[in-house]
Symmetry: D2
Subunit: 339 residues, 4 copies
C-alpha cells in the first residue's frame, strides 16, 4: 500500500481527494493536514466521514508530512503551495500540487496573475504539467506535478485536436460555465446562496489567470502562438464545468470528419469520451466521475466548428486528475480507484 498524505483537507478539493483516496485499493492515507489549533478527528472536521475512518487531522509541517508519506497532495492556496512543495521535495518525496504555483513556466506571468514572486524557481523547472492526455510519459517520471486548473483541463482537451491538426485558426473563443465549488469554501458576500441562486453572471472577462496557463501549454506543445479568448461564468450548481469553444475553420470539413479526428486522437484515453450522432455533453453525465465528455459540430455556412466539453471540476478538474497523475507516477494502473 502506498502511503499518501493530503495538505489542506478542509477545502472542497481536499475533501474530494480524500473521498477518492479512501476508496483507492492500493493506497493508505496516513497524514492529513489542516489549519487547526489542535489535532481533531477527521469526522469532527468533515462530518460526512464519520463512521468511516479513524483518521486524525493536524496542522503538520511539510517535514512531518514528508516523513509519513511517499506522495503528498497539496490542496493549499496559491503562493503558499510553492514553499511547502519545496520542503517536501527536499526530503525525497513526490508532490502533486493542486494550486497554480507550478503551472506557469513564465515567472513574469506568474507574478502578473498571482501577485507574488515565485520562490521555488528550481523546482518549477522540474515540474510537469499534469494533463495525462498530453504529457503522460513525462508524468510517469515526474517528482513534482502541477495539477492543471479546472477550466484549462476541459478546454485544453477540447481544443488540442483541432489546433494540432491545423484545420482551424490559432485564435479561438472559450466560453466557460462553472459550478460554485470552483471558487472554494471560504465565506464571501458574492457567493452567499441568495446572491448566486436564480442568478447567472460572467466574471474576470478577458483577465482570468487561466488564460496564460492555457496559452502557455498550447504554445509549448504546438510550437506556435495561440490566442485564447476566455470568459468564465458562474452557474448556480455545485459542481461541473461546461465549455463551449468556437474555432474558425481554415478548410472545409464536416461534423463527421471532426468527430473522427477526436475519436482517433483520444481512442485509448480511459477518461475522454467523444459523443457522436448529434448527442451533446451534459454536466450531469460526468458528475462524480473523472470523465471529460466532448462533442463537436460544424456550422458550415458560418465556417466555424463548435466544441462542447464537460468535466466535474472537482474530479477531472482537480482531485480525480491528481489521483490519475499519482497512478502514473508510481506505476499503478491509470484508472485505479477512479472508475
Amino acid at each position: 500500500m502506498l502511503k499518501v498524505g493530503v495538505m489542506g483537507v478542509r477545502g472542497y478539493t481536499g475533501e474530494e481527494l480524500l473521498k477518492i483516496l479512501l476508496h483507492h485499493p492500493k493506497v493508505r492515507v496516513t497524514s492529513l493536514q489542516a489549519r487547526l489549533e489542535k489535532p481533531m478527528s477527521l469526522s469532527a472536521v468533515l462530518p460526512r466521514f464519520s463512521h468511516q475512518t479513524d483518521l486524525v487531522c493536524a496542522d503538520y509541517t511539510p517535514e512531518v508530512m514528508a516523513r509519513g508519506c511517499e506522495v503528498v497532495f497539496l490542496a493549499l492556496p496559491h503562493t503558499v503551495s510553492m514553499t511547502v512543495a519545496s520542503k517536501i521535495l527536499k526530503k525525497g518525496k513526490k508532490v502533486i500540487d493542486l494550486s497554480a504555483d507550478f503551472r506557469l513556466k513564465d515567472t513574469a506571468l506568474y507574478k502578473k496573475y498571482y501577485a507574488a514572486d515565485h520562490v521555488a524557481k528550481g523546482d518549477l523547472k522540474e515540474a510537469v504539467y499534469g494533463l495525462p492526455e498530453l504529457y503522460r510519459e513525462k508524468i510517469k517520471k515526474a517528482t513534482l506535478i502541477a495539477n492543471p486548473g479546472c477550466y484549462p483541463t476541459g478546454i485544453l482537451l477540447g481544443a488540442y485536436p483541432l489546433l494540432k491538426k491545423g484545420w482551424v485558426e490559432s485564435s479561438f473563443v472559450a466560453d466557460a460555465k462553472s459550478g460554485v465549488t470552483g471558487t472554494g469554501r471560504s465565506a464571501s458576500e458574492a457567493f452567499q446562496f441568495a446572491e448566486v441562486n436564480e442568478n447567472f453572471r460572467a466574471y474576470k472577462v478577458a483577465e482570468h489567470q487561466h488564460v496564460p496557463e492555457m496559452e502557455e501549454v498550447l504554445e509549448n506543445t504546438l510550437r506556435k502562438k495561440i490566442d485564447v479568448i476566455f470568459t468564465p461564468h458562474l452557474v448556480p450548481i455545485n459542481r461541473g464545468i461546461l465549455s463551449t469553444l468556437y474555432f474558425r475553420l481554415t478548410r472545409s470539413v464536416s461534423t463527421q470528419q471532426v468527430t473522427d479526428l477526436y475519436k482517433a486522437l483520444y481512442q485509448k484515453e480511459p477518461f475522454v469520451r467523444i459523443l457522436a450522432d448529434g448527442k451533446l455533453p451534459e454536466v450531469k453525465h460526468v458528475l462524480y466521475t473523472n470523465f471529460c465528455d466532448i462533442a463537436v459540430k460544424v456550422d458550415a455556412v458560418r465556417k466555424t466548428v463548435i466544441v462542447v466539453t464537460v468535466i466535474d471540476n472537482l474530479v477531472k478538474g482537480a482531485a480525480g486528475q491528481a489521483v490519475q497523475n499519482m497512478n502514473l507516477m508510481v506505476g499503478f494502473g491509470e484508472t485505479e480507484g477512479l472508475l
Copy 2:
C-alpha cells in the same frame, strides 16, 4: 382605459403578460382565452391571481376576442398564431403576436425552421418587428407586431452598436444562457426538475430557429451580410438570459471607447442600461424588470471585444416588450406600467 385581451394565458408568457397588464394604469383587461373545456375563473386557472381579480377565462374565438378588445396579445404556439392573428386583424383590431409567426420575412426560412407553410403572407408583409430600440417609429404606426424572440432581444441590443459603427467583423459569436421558462410549461422528461437541476447543457448547437431571425433583422437594418454563430444553453434558473458576444476588432479601440459608443447610441432608451467601470451585468439585476443591461470589454492583445447582455426572458424577452410595443402603438408613455 384601453380594452385589451390575451390569448393563451396559461403559459408562462401569458401569465407574465397578465401580471403586467393588471397593474397598467391605462389598461383594462377584458378577455382572456385559454384552452378550457368550459369557462373558469382566472383564480382557478392560475391560483396566484386569486383575491385580485374576478376575470374569467374561456376558449374564446378570435372573433369574440376582437369584439371585446382594442388590442389582442397572442401568447399562442407557433403556427397557431398566424391564423388567429389574421382573423383579429380583419376585424380592425391591433395584434401583438408573441409567437415566431411574423418574425421572419423570408417564408422559406420560416418553413425550414418551423416546419409549416406560412398561411398569412399578406399580414406578414405588414408586420413590424417589435424591438423599439431599432424600430420605434414603425411600431407606432403598426397594427401587427411580431414581438421578438427572447434570445434575439438581448443579442440584437448587444450587437447592433458595434456592427453599425463598423469597428468589428460581420461574423460574431453569440453564446447564450437561458433560464427554463424560455421552454414553456408543458411537461417533458428533459425538463423535469431532477434532469435540469445540478445540470448544465448546450442544445440546438448551430441550428436554433433564432439564428435566421437575428441575421435577417441585422441584415435588413445594416444592409450587409451578417453571420451569427449561436449556441444556446440551459441554466437551472427559472428566468433570465445572459448572452456573451465575441467580435473581432477591425481597428484598435479601448473599452472606454466602446462603452462611450453604446452610451451614446442608447442614451435616450428607457430600458437599456450601459454599465461602466468594470461592472458586469447579472441576471438578478434585471429579474422582473424590462431592462436590458449591457457591458463591454476589449481584449486588446487578442483583438476582440466582448459584450455581455442580460434580460429577463419573460419581461424584456417577451411580455414586457409586448407591453412596451402596445404603449407605442396606442400613444401611451413608453414606460407606462413597466417601471
Copy 3:
C-alpha cells in the same frame, strides 16, 4: 404625498421595502440610510434600481431622518433599532421597526433571546405588534409598530382561528421551512451557495427566538397558556416560508368545518386566502405578494388537524406587512401599493 424614509436599505428587507415604497402611489421616499463612508447614489449601492430613481443613500443620523420624513422604517439589526427608534419618536415622527426590538413585552425574555438589555422600555410599552389581522384598530392609532417576525406572521395567522375557537389543545407543533433571505445578506460559511444548495437542514431546534414572540402574542390575545413547539428549517430557495401546524383535536370536526371557520374569520381580510377542496398552498403562489395562503386538513383517525400556511418572508413576512401597517397608521387604503 407622504414623506417616508428607510434606515438600513442594503439588507434584503430594506431593498424589498424600497421596491414597494417606490411604487406606492401616495408615498414619496425622501431619505435612505445605509452604513456608508460617504453618500452614494442608490444605483451604486443596489444596481437593480439604476435608471429608476435619483435617490441618494448616506449614513444619516436618526435626527436627520426624522426631519425629512413623516414615517421612518427601520430595517436595522436587533439591539441597534431600539436606540434609533427612540430618537425618531422623540421628534414626533412615526416608526415602523422591522427588527425584533419591540416585539416582546417581557424584557427578561428579550434579554434571554437577544443577549442585550432593553434600553427603550418606555417606548416598548407603547409599541403595537403589527399584525393587522389581530391588531388592526390598535395599529391605526400607533406611533411605533413592532413589525412581526417572518415565522410568527405565517404561524400566527394559521394558528389563531383554531386556538380561539377552542377546538384544539393549547399546545401545538409548528414545523416551518424558510428560504435563505430570512437570514440576511452578510457573509458566512454556513450560507455559502454550495453549503445550502442540494442541502436541507433544521436549526435552532426548540430554541429559536420566535418562540417567545409567538407564545406571548397568542397568550395576550387568547388569555391562556399556549405552547408552540417550533422547528425552523432552511430550504434552498431565495424567498418564502411554508409552515405546517399540527393540532390535537378536542372534539370531532371535519375538514369542511375547519375550512368554514377560517373562511368566516378571515372573510374581510385583504391578504389572507383560505384554500378549499383539497387545494394546498405553495410558496410560488405567494412569491412577491403580500398574501398568506392557508389550507386545513383533518386526520379524523388520528384526531389531528393539520394547517399549512405560506407567505413570502420578505413581503407579508417583512416589508409588505410594514407597508400595510403604514397604510393603516396614516389612513390610506390598507392595500394601497400592495396589489
Copy 4:
C-alpha cells in the same frame, strides 16, 4: 462472484442500484431489463455509464432474468412488481423488490392505497420487510425482501427507540421533506423544473401511502397501536429526505438521556450515526451514502422530544438498503460495496 440482475434500470432507483452493484467487489451484474423495443447498450440508455461497461439492456421476461441471476432486484412500478416477483421466486431465485407490493401484510390496506387487488398473497406471507436494523435475522433467511419505502426508512429508524422504550406517547407527528427523485423520472407538469424550483409545498397531507406501512411495521414490532401523523413535502433538491419527528414525553428526560438511548440501541449498526453535542443532521452529510444520521432534542418546557433524521432517498431509502439486504441474504459482509 454472485450473479445479479436488475429489472427497471431506467428509473432513478434502477440507475442508482446499478452504480452500486457495478462497484460491488463480490457481484457480477449479468442481466438488465428495461422497457425497450429492442436490446440496447447500457451506455445508450444511460449515458453516464459509457466507457465503463459493455452491458446490454433488453426487455427480458422474469423467466429469462431468473435463468441468468441468483438475485434479481425489481425497480418496477407498484402493481407490476408482484406478478414478476412470483415468477422469479418460482424458479428458485431470490428477489429484492423495491416497489411497495410486498410491504403491507394487510391486503385491504394495499387495495385502499394502491388501487389494486394483491395477486401474490402466498409470496406476500413469506416476504420480509427489509429494514436490517429491525429485522436482520429474518432478512438473512429470506427469499423475498420488501425493500422499505424512502420515507418509512428514515422515520422508522428515528421513531423506534423512543417508542420501544416507552418514554413517549404512541401518537407522533412525522413532518418529512424529500428531494424530487423520490417521485421518479416520468414527465409531469407538476414536476417540471420551473414548477419545483423556488417553490416548496406539502402534498398528500394525511393520506400518503407510507402511513399504513409505518404504522403496520411499528405495530407488529411493538405490539401496540401507533398513530403516525405524517405530512410529506417536496424540496427543490435532487436527493435526500429530512424528517422531523415530534413525540410527547410521558416522563421527564434530558436530551442527553435520549441521545444515550439511541446510541446504545444503534451501537453496532454500521449505517446509523447518532449525532451529539447539539449537532444536527444535514442532507448533504449523507448524500451518496447509505447512512441514516439522527439527532434528538428535548424541549422540557413543552414536554416534547424532537428527533431529526436524514437519509439519501436513493441509497438508504432505496438502492443502498437493497444491496445491504442482498449482503445479508447471501452471507456477504453487511457493508460490502456500500462504504
